[in-house]
């Protein structure tokens, strides 16, 4: 990037400078990134490799290091999308409207553990958890209640459900939208539909085996985007965030998401589609963790890796399909219940990382999230935190302002190189469903859990309030409690629906679903029919269980 003569002069002068430093002492700490990349004392033009036009270039131009759009935040700010849901659809609807009135520009539905696992509230297994960790969305009526008075044609909604319940929950949403008079071809939104979230991010409760999960995830991509039923939808959001939270590092985070993305693309290509038919709608959800520069380098490297994968491996032709678009969530696992107000500072810094890294959408965590679901006050502070960055700091004046920093460019190269190597390691195990069923990914997670615990307990990774300036665990904030009556409300909602629907007609449709599942055909068309007739998420998932079986993940301790 620099003239050879200039570089030679810098090299000579740098040696002289380092000579002078020999007597200077440095603090006795390891200067490494969170993923243990050793960091030099200083970066100079000597560390920046590559040609500007080849490896960095302009925003909106390949390889998109500086951003996917030519104007980035000068054209349009990132979407402020808080992940939110609790109690009942009605309560969540009130919270959504409150945040919308306060400037939120995208919605994201956090569902409860029953919706996540395809269990109806009438099933005693999970009854105490109705609405405790998200919004219950068990039937089409819930979707009407969730979005009441919300202009879902103008503001996009992210449905955070995974492959096992993706088809029924999204089919309920699409049917609701149609009944409200919206055309599916104009509908904007995202479904998480991420196989790794519900297998290694969390462990699945009575879900089906990974090969079936991979297939239904691809059914959804095929039906919405490739077959153009909901062409503007993002049918999958590879959610590195959820497993990063478990303790894997930035390199593994990108390795997991790209290996997973490749398995999905391969599946759809096997079905006869071309990558160009759908890759432009694939989306990503990454973490903004504690290492400020490593995270920024990660976003920049991710754009470059994706571009290379699409262009070289999948021979994507349309330049619009080469861009890596991503949502970011600040790191929940970096928050502490001790001194919860410090979480506001942590979140602000992490949000800034995401913005300096060119994210398309951002969730900032609430300060009380180490203890409970966000209270209204804490959620507003979280929203205002990103609004401070957007409206007051002027960081949006210019695009990718950290480009050209010797350190950031060097670190971007370093992260990229390490991710390629790690992806090779995963892909040697096989496709993503194999990496799950063989237990390989569980061992990676287990090792990460253990390593992170030791680092924190030894004080190598500092967490203020926990292992430095300790304070006893004593909750000083008010604890937000979810509704105690949610269970009764939801059971009642389902009973009313069951009394109203044509059960004989539905039984026939569910029988057809059984046969579709047996033949391993695309489940979406028949599930659109079933949910329209009032099938619940639990009823549909029970058919999956019946035909495909229940999977016990090979957990490692």
């Amino acid at each position: 990037m620099f003239d050879k003569k200039i570089l030679e002069n810098i090299r000579i002068e740098k040696e002289k400078w380092e000579e002078k430093l020999k007597e200077s002492k440095e603090r006795d700490v390891k200067f490494v990134t969170d993923s243990e990349i050793p960091i030099k004392r200083l970066y100079t033009p000597l560390d920046v490799k590559g040609d500007y036009l080849d490896t960095i270039n302009f925003p909106g131009q390949e390889p998109f290091t500086r951003g996917v759009y030519p104007t980035m935040y000068r054209g349009r700010l990132w979407t402020m999308r808080l992940f939110s849901g609790h109690g009942t659809p009605e309560e969540t609807n009130l919270r959504w409207k409150y945040l919308y009135e306060n400037g939120e520009t995208g919605f994201s539905a956090a569902v409860d553990a029953l919706t996540f696992n395809g269990i109806d509230p009438t099933n005693p297994d999970g009854a105490p958890e109705v609405g405790t960790s998200g919004v219950p969305l068990y039937c089409i009526d819930s979707l009407f209640a969730l979005t009441e008075d919300i202009p879902i044609d103008k503001i996009s909604v992210a449905l955070v459900v995974e492959p096992f319940t993706c088809a029924p929950v999204c089919a309920m949403y699409f049917n609701m939208a149609k009944m409200r008079g919206y055309e599916l071809k104009n509908l904007m939104g995202t479904t998480q539909n991420d196989i790794l979230t519900m297998t290694v991010g969390y462990i699945p409760y009575k879900n089906s085996p990974p090969n079936h999960l991979l297939r239904v995830a691809c059914d959804f991509i095929e039906w919405t985007v490739a077959q153009k039923n909901v062409p503007l939808w993002h049918p999958i959001n590879f959610t590195g965030y959820n497993y990063r939270e478990g303790g894997i590092d930035a390199i593994q985070e990108l390795g997991f998401v790209f290996a997973s993305a490749c398995s999905h693309i391969d599946n759809l290509i096997e079905r006869g589609w071309k990558a160009d038919d759908f890759v432009g709608r694939l989306a990503f959800h990454l973490a903004a963790h504690k290492d400020f520069f490593e995270e920024i380098a990660k976003y920049r490297a991710a754009r470059r890796i994706w571009h290379k994968l699409m262009k070289d491996k999948y021979e994507v032709k349309n330049p619009k399909n080469l861009g890596f678009r991503f949502h970011v969530q600040t790191a929940g696992s970096s928050l502490t219940a001790q001194l919860p107000m410090i979480n506001i500072v942590r979140t602000a810094i992490q949000g800034l990382e995401a913005n300096l890294g060119g994210c398309q959408s951002l969730h900032t965590n609430s300060y009380d999230e180490a203890i409970c679901l966000p209270s209204e006050e804490a959620a507003l502070v979280a929203l205002r935190t990103q609004q401070v960055v957007a409206d007051e700091t002027r960081i949006t004046n210019t695009i990718d302002p950290l480009a050209g920093s010797y350190y950031v460019e060097w670190l971007t190269d370093e992260v990229e190189e390490r991710v390629w190597k790690y992806m090779d390691k995963i892909q040697k195990v096989g496709s993503i469903d194999k990496a799950l069923s063989t237990g390989w990914l569980y061992k990676e997670m287990r090792d990460a859990f253990h390593k992170r615990r030791v680092r924190i307990e030894k004080g190598e990774e500092i967490m203020l309030g926990i292992n430095k300036y300790q304070v006893p665990y004593d909750t000083v904030t008010d604890v937000f409690r979810t509704s105690q009556t949610a269970i009764d409300i939801e059971v009642n909602r389902i009973n009313k629906l069951k009394a109203r629907r044509d059960n004989a007609k539905l039984e026939k449709i569910l029988d057809k679903l059984r046969s579709v599942c047996e033949k391993e055909e695309n489940v979406m068309p028949i599930i659109m029919e079933a949910t329209k007739e009032g099938a619940t998420v639990g009823e549909i998932c029970d058919i999956y269980r019946e035909i495909w079986g229940i999977w016990e993940p090979p957990l490692a301790i």
């Binding site: 553990a113 029953l114 996540f116 696992n117 269990i119 005693p124 297994d125 999970g126 105490p128 958890e129 405790t132 960790s133 519900m198 969390y202 462990i203 699945p204 409760y205 009575k206 478990g246 303790g247 502490t336 219940a337 001790q338 180490a370 203890i371 409970c372 679901l373 287990r446 859990f449 253990h450 615990r453 307990e457 967490m463 309030g465 926990i466 665990y473 004593d474 909750t475 604890v479 409690r481 979810t482 957990l555 301790i557």
Partner: protein, 132 residues
């Protein structure tokens, strides 16, 4: 003192899949030389059956869903019904607000470990508080 290893059952009541806490603590317990039985997802009946069958000294319940009162009560009621409550040290860990500790202790939980707990504190507590 018998030379029998301390036996610990680690269970996840309910259906919530937040699993890191339970695994991290399980590993620490095993590393401390105790016998760890990882129950994974279990309902109250399965937990109590496993606790009796495995003759455990300690029962750990990992709960991150906010439903800690309901699940803990189900388990303790059944332990009492089966007459083994007085033999087993019950610990609860997870996203449990400090305000809820007194009520859980009243219910019969020996100790509660919220966010930011250190695993060596858990191991130490087990060693010094066994019921039998």
């Amino acid at each position: 003192m018998s030379s029998r290893k301390i036996r610990v059952l680690m269970s996840k009541p309910g259906i919530d899949g937040h699993w890191r806490g339970g695994i991290v603590v399980s590993r620490a317990i095993r590393d401390a030389g105790m016998e760890l039985i990882f129950g994974g997802f279990q309902n109250a009946k399965q937990i109590v059956e496993a606790a009796i069958q495995e003759d455990v000294d300690v029962l750990g319940l990992s709960i991150h869903s906010g439903a800690h009162f309901a699940y803990t009560k189900q388990v303790i009621d059944l332990l009492k019904e089966k007459g083994v409550f007085n033999d087993i040290l019950i610990l609860v860990g997870g996203v449990i607000p400090a305000q809820d500790f007194p009520k859980l202790k009243e219910m019969g939980v020996a100790n509660i470990y919220g966010p930011g707990s250190m695993t060596n504190d858990i191991v130490e507590f087990i060693k010094t508080h066994l019921k039998k």
